[in-house]
Amino acid sequence: MSFFGMNVAGSALAAFQQAANTTADDIANVNTPGASRQVVNLSEAAPIVGSPGYAAWSGPGTKGDGVVVDSITRIHQNSYDGLFRGASAGQSYFDVEQQQLQGVQAAFAEPSAGVNAAFSGLQKAFTQLASTPSNDQAGGQAARAGVINAAQTFVNVLNSVGSAIATAKATVSQNAAGVVTQANTLIDKIATLNGQIRASRAIGDNPNTYLDQRDLAIDQLSKLLATQTSVQPNGSTLVTVGGRALVNDTQAYHLAAPVVGTDSAGNPALVIGVQGDPNPANPVPVPLGSGQLAAYVDVYNGKLTPYGQQLDNFANATADEINRITTAGYDQNGNAGVTLLGSAVAGQPVSATNISVGISNPAQIPVGLASTAAGTLTVGMNAANLTVSTSSAIQGNASLAHPGAAGPTTGALTVTVDNVAQTFNYDFGPAGNAASVDSFVSSFNAAQLGVTASFDHVSQKIVFTRDPNNISLAHRAAQPGGATPDFTIADSNGAAGGSQGTPSSSILEILGAAALTGVPQNASNAFGAGDNSNANAAIKVFSKSVGVPALQTTTPTAIGGAGAVTVAPPAGNPAAFARIGVGQVLTIGAGTANQENVVVTAVNRTTGTISFSATLAHPANSAIASAPAQTLGTYYGGLVGQLGLDTQTAITGNTAQGKLATNIDQVRQGIDGINLDEETQNLVKYQNSYQAAARTLNVLDSLLQTTLGLIR
């Protein structure tokens, strides 16, 4: 009994020492990520009952045997982990999106110095050219060079933005590969920790540090992808992403490095699968949900790829429209115009990174258009000394050199432009579409044949002019190659000839243009160097509605009527639908009674086919064209607007999710985090307790000394 008290005090010393040590550990880990505070759970030692000599003890009560350290446990609330990890995955997702999209936004350099400014510059250069089209004029040479320079700037900016998008895609793919490595390391670490925790638990231990480390590893993994975690009875965890196991107990399942495979429609897409997928070149994608990896995949597939496609579409459609104008004109030397915006790599379609300026010599900038006015093919349509009233009836009109005959009053003009022959059926009878010169001019122009008719009242002549803007979708679809500057008009009714006043059934003869039937109108009939009609035609391109992406082709097979149809590209052009995506609006059967707009519902990149629902029947070789929905400028504006919106969403998402994650972490840390002041108090408490126990030992010792002092 003599040393009993000392033993009690000793147990206190040991316990407080342990407690102080634990506090010291907490303080040491105050800045360690993932560290939970640990507490020492003390309890009274079991009383000494039933020991020899104490069996018959009967006194005031059982006597305590001091203090024991029951356990050292970590304070941790698992329930907050899931919440925190969800928010943290969200934040990481938007963080990556923000970083990447802000980079892309910087490359676009809008609104001050990007493609739009260069595009405006091109428009401005054509406007300048329209003012001084002639080389003879002061500034004429400069205006032509200005168009080339503006085109060069436009091409350079497109190239630079296009390359920036391509570079961003490569970077994203690279970063994603890095993140996959990081994720695989964490997955391994979690699996290893699971093993350690399970072993520790099996022998009844409290693996506080391992638990902290595993939670931290899962926290870190959650930044990379959206994990779900469940703790199993043996203490190990099952970590899954979108239902697929990443860690099951000590088994780790690795992610495969990202590859550019294809999505369900056959479009190239960045895909992250698991290692061991039977098709590593195009594995089944892991549903990443959120986190950095999902962001990289989304930036690649959902942002950069469509931006790049839209920029390519814009470049392609702009080149298509501008070239249509320049190739329809004649240059200063009377040569047929060439393309202003061509592809840098021959044979490849024009895109943002594959576009170059095709004209380097200012004299080659087309200015003139073929016309019947400059030549001698047409004569005044009036009878001598009479002035034609263009609103009067043609039939029997004595003021015409050749009045319209009593019959037949119908015929057909075959207008051949761009190697496409189109027919204009005329009827100069009382209710016909050509009853007067005015109605002939307006109905001929409304037919969109690529040639515009006008009446020159000074010389009393009808003038036919090549008009690259006055062309129907059907005409464009039927066009085998690029535009051509020359044209012919042939009349089905032959000229009556004879003296003035002889009635005629040939509308060309009635209009004083009998001599031009079937005769090619070419550079010799261009307006001349001072003509700005081609520049004006180019200016109009910028303000008219166009179909983007540029598509003008025909169906190889008939469309049978209402219902879903799949259309293959025409035989000679297997890549016709390469730029068409789901949701694109197409015009089918342009220029026919059954013309309708349809929305593409599916594309198949392997077969090159597109699917949509038509409501009307269309014969084989019907025109298919992108529906003209907006101007080129609006299309590009839409792309920049989308980029801005995506970036803004990422910025606000990052802020909101960041705040959410911080708030949840604050609550979580409020429970399990280490507070220095608290630990200081604990330390003081344990120090004082230790001192008290030590003093108690001292007193007990002096009690013993007193007893021992009795022995002399």
Binding site: Q105, S499, V640, G673, Q681
Partner: protein, 444 residues
Amino acid sequence: MRIATSMIYAQQTSAIDDQQALYAQIGQQLSTGKQLNDPSDDPTRIGQDLQLHTALDTTAQQANNVQSAVSELTTTDSALSSLTSVLQSARQLAVQGASQGLTDDQRSALANQLDELVRQSIAIGNTQYGGKYVFAGTASTPTAPVQQQGSPITGVSFSGNEQVQGQLIYNNQQFALSTTFQAAFNYASADGSPDVFQTLISLRDTLANKLAVDRSAQPINAGGKLVYGPAAGAAPPPTTLGAAGVFATPAVADSSGNYSLQIHGSVGGVSSVQTITVTPGTALDDGTAAGLVGQINAVSGSTGVTAQFDPKAQRLVLKGTGSFYVSDVPSPGATNAGNLTSVLGLAPQADFVQNLSTQIGDVDHVLNTALNARSTIGARIQTLGAIGDQIQTTLTDNKKMESGIEDVDVAAAVSKFSQTQTALQAAYSTTNRLESKTLFDYLS
């Protein structure tokens, strides 16, 4: 509430980060003067903003185009003003020349002045603006488009075309910017009336040579019909005098079935009367000596009268070096006269003074043409002025709209800037104070 020590630091850091980001953002807005620096700053309006940029760029260029068009039209206008003065001078000279009291020398002095006026009008036809010939249409003309022919000048050649120059496009509407050579100088007119140069040259010749001219008073064809001269290419054969329904006044043959015309002229003071008789199958003018015109010219050695058919104007022109007379007479063997002078619309007598008054009429006609062209140009200058004003308004409006989207509200931004500055300072000082407080300081 319990709080982890590391959270205190994290919270402060994040607070400072947030404030700094805001501070930098407002700083950028203030230094650039723009609140729209990136598409993400206002994605809903960036599309509109880009279009405004384009509109501002191109509208400014259009304003320049209009400005230059107005200058060009002003040049054309002053050219036409000079032309009007030339024609008015010509008219005065013609009136002066008609005076009976003038000597031949005085008239030839007037003719010399008219020759000068011809040269002046050619110079006006070659007026340039910025190296471009304003009346040359759209043709490429490295040399002056109007060139004199012959010496003394007998006519002009024109190498331009009749296309209106430099159409201006504004809001998809086209505006013509120049007049044509035909509209200004009545060159190759649809009704066959003489142009400025022909008018001045024939006036000069009339004064110099005391020419008498007898020209059909009206076109000789019936409405909707045409009298054809010498056949060229695929043109119909020459019209014969007996052709039915072609002449406005149908020819009536005399009792022998022929048509006759008597010309009473003189050469070098020697008078001569010549009767020309043709059969109904004879052409008015087939380009040979067989036609009526050819037969009149065959005797011009004694009558001094030459004939010419102008198919475009559908008129016959007889020119004599002095006064001459034209009449209907019976052909040999016939007892009655035909009506050939009525068919051809000829006056019975042609003399110098009457010729001058006809020519003054021609001068008046081209003067009217020039004045019409000038008023068209004047109206166009006004139209373009209005368009110029409209473009300026559009420019201002667009600038305002762009400013509304892009520019920062400086007052609001400055106030926010100082607010953020205060908040940032507070965050700094809070962090500073928090960091200095720990219970460890009190441990002994």
